[in-house]
């Protein structure tokens, strides 16, 4: 199977603070496959996801290098017109905050019609109602003529999802789609995302900092730290048998219902300052198993022995 999306050695540098938020990341995504990207704030996961459609403010970015191939074509060198037809068409995005991702002065119907006009051959109120029903919104007629402020957060995110799938995308990029929502609604939105993906055969790139929400929901899971991909593999095995010490620390710090603990073990130390990364492995200052080599040499992502579908970047691994 050929990859739908191939990111090769992507590096994104921001002007502010002169930092690289993404430092040489490569990922692959097959058609219909789902990949979760998890990591702390500032790990570069959102920057990576947004660069796929070049949705970073041009004045904030100093340089983007590497290649982002969607169906073999490099997004970074596409002409404006081609990029626009890709955005909302073959690749759609769902943003973090549904409270601000919808235009407050236009009705929900109007905003979805706009996508149909651009990518699905014209306005079509019946199709909009289908889409609203598809994202399980009750009373599509009422929602159609509602303004965003009349809807709840969960309803708004459903509307955003309807807008995203309106253009019939092959890849959906969801940048922390549940972070701004109530915990009870988060699960519903993720379930909806999952069923939409299956029904429509889309690939999904799901960015989150809540690793617990990813289990069972994505085929593969990538863990990012300080702008690098430190571990990647099938979600189930990464969660049950983490190899990178950072992944291990992250998982230990999750609360579990089955165990009672007085205190949750937290990862020691702070997320790194991207402007002043230590020499060698960026995780070294917080790593319980760091040794000499970690100070001198930055580990590269390489296959995990005995598991061809997994990779991690750590000197501790054989």
């Amino acid at each position: 199977m050929t990859a739908l999306l191939e990111v090769r050695d992507l590096r994104v540098e921001y002007r502010r603070g002169n930092v690289a938020a993404v430092r040489g990341v490569s990922i692959d995504l097959a058609p219909g496959e789902s990949l979760g990207l998890a990591g702390e704030s500032g790990s570069g996961k959102s920057t990576l996801a947004l660069s796929v459609l070049r949705l970073l403010a041009p004045e904030a970015v100093r340089a983007v290098t590497g290649r982002i191939l969607f169906k073999g074509r490099d997004v970074l060198t596409l002409a404006d017109r081609e990029l626009r037809s890709l955005r909302g068409g073959a690749v759609a995005t769902v943003f973090q905050d549904p409270f601000s991702a919808l235009n407050p002065v236009l009705t929900v119907g109007e905003q979805i019609e706009e996508v149909l006009e651009l990518h699905a051959g014209g306005r079509n109120p019946a199709r909009v109602r289908d889409l609203l029903a598809r994202v399980r919104l009750p009373e599509p007629d009422r929602i159609y003529s509602s303004y965003p402020h009349q809807l709840s957060g969960g309803q708004r995110q459903r509307v955003c999802l309807a807008m995203a799938v309106a253009g019939g995308p092959e890849l959906l990029i969801a940048d922390e789609p549940t972070t701004a929502l109530d915990v009870t609604v988060q699960r519903e939105i993720l379930d909806l995302l999952d069923s939409l993906r299956r029904d429509l055969g889309m690939a999904l790139l799901l960015v989150t900092h809540n690793i617990g929400l990813l289990s069972e929901r994505t085929d593969r899971l990538g863990i990012m730290y300080a702008g690098e991909l430190v571990e990647v593999g099938p979600t189930r095995t990464v969660l049950s048998d983490p190899r990178h010490p950072y992944t291990q620390g992250l998982l230990k710090s999750l609360p579990r219902l089955t165990k009672t603990a007085d205190r949750l073990p937290a990862l020691p130390g702070q997320p790194p300052d991207l402007g002043r990364l230590p020499a060698g492995c960026p995780f070294r200052p917080r790593c319980p198993g760091a040794f000499d080599r970690c100070e001198k040499e930055s580990p590269v992502l390489r296959p995990v022995q005995g598991a061809a579908d997994r990779a991690a970047a750590c000197h501790l691994l054989p």
Binding site: L53, L55, A57, E59, R84, S85, L86, R87, G88, G89, A92, T93, F95, D97, S100, A101, L102, N103, P104, V105, L106, E114, V115, L118, H119, C160, M163, A164, G167
Partner: protein, 279 residues
């Protein structure tokens, strides 16, 4: 967009109501002038020169025996037309320049905003006089000149609003859905900029009426015998000791018009600006 929801509170705003009434009265006077005027504003009657206000001539007659009420009513047409069209032009220019500068940023913004700075350095009456030196003073030129010299403040206002909307999430979301730049600007950004523009435009009409009157007073605006409040004032000043009504009534008309637009503009601002609505 809270305009409609707050409509019920208009009753507690006597000044806004007064402003709306003054502006409404002016518009009505301008539209109805041909029917409401008791006499032809240009008809001279040398046997009844400089008559004081009476039952027949409510505001008296001028030095050529023309009926002042009629001239004031027709003058309202001039003032309102000049005010509306000049402000229309200034809104158009200011909005275009402000949107372009705010949205594109970088050198586009730098060039446009330096142009604004330069134009704002000149007193506007100087700019106007400079242009008039080359053009025949007629109503079309007056409107164009007032419009061309009054858009700079609006451009700054629109630029600032555009800057604040440009990077809002919904604009990025719309970008992510493949909208073109013209469409982003018109559908997603312009509506958010409109309410301050509406307020500035209303306040601007008052300013434009003043400028037109000043130019006509100086003899550089609407030319006699066409009635304009400015040239009526100018003609009346020679008789100020003999016939006070020739200066009082045009002056009052200008005063009430500008007051009306200012009160209405401030009322609109209070309604539309969410930052002031808590008061």
């Amino acid at each position: 967009m809270n305009f409609f929801r707050r409509r019920g509170r208009g009753a507690g705003r006597p000044m806004e109501t007064l402003g709306a009434a003054l502006v409404g009265g002016l518009v009505l006077a301008a539209i109805l002038a041909p029917w409401a005027a008791p006499a032809d504003p240009l008809r001279q009657d040398l046997t009844h020169r400089l008559e004081a206000p009476s039952a027949r001539h409510w505001m008296g007659t001028d030095d050529l025996g023309r009926d002042v009420v009629s001239r004031i009513l027709y003058g309202a047409r001039v003032s309102l037309t000049v005010g509306a069209l000049a402000v229309g032009l200034s809104v158009l220019l200011g909005t275009l320049v402000g949107l372009a500068g705010g949205y594109f940023g970088g050198w586009v913004d730098a060039v446009l905003m330096r142009l604004v700075d330069v134009l704002l350095c000149f007193p506007s009456i100087f700019l106007i006089l400079m242009v008039i030196a080359f053009l025949e003073p007629n109503i079309v030129h007056i409107m164009a000149i007032i419009g061309l010299t009054s858009w700079m403040g609006l451009a700054r206002l629109v630029r600032a609003e555009t800057l604040s909307v440009r990077d809002r999430d919904f604009v990025w979301a719309a970008r992510g859905l493949g909208l073109s730049t013209p469409r982003l600007l018109t559908v997603h950004i312009l509506p958010h900029v409109l309410s301050p523009v509406l307020v500035a435009a209303t306040l601007g009409v008052g300013g434009a009426v003043m400028t037109e009157s000043a130019l006509s007073f100086l003899g550089l605006g609407v030319q006699p015998p066409s009635p304009s409040w400015g040239n009526m004032l100018s003609a009346g000043k020679d008789y100020i000791h003999l016939a006070w009504w020739l200066t009082l009534f045009p002056g009052l008309a200008i005063f009430l018009t500008v007051l009306g637009f200012n009160l209405l503009g401030e009322g609109l601002r209070d309604r539309l600006d969410p930052r002031l609505s808590g008061q």
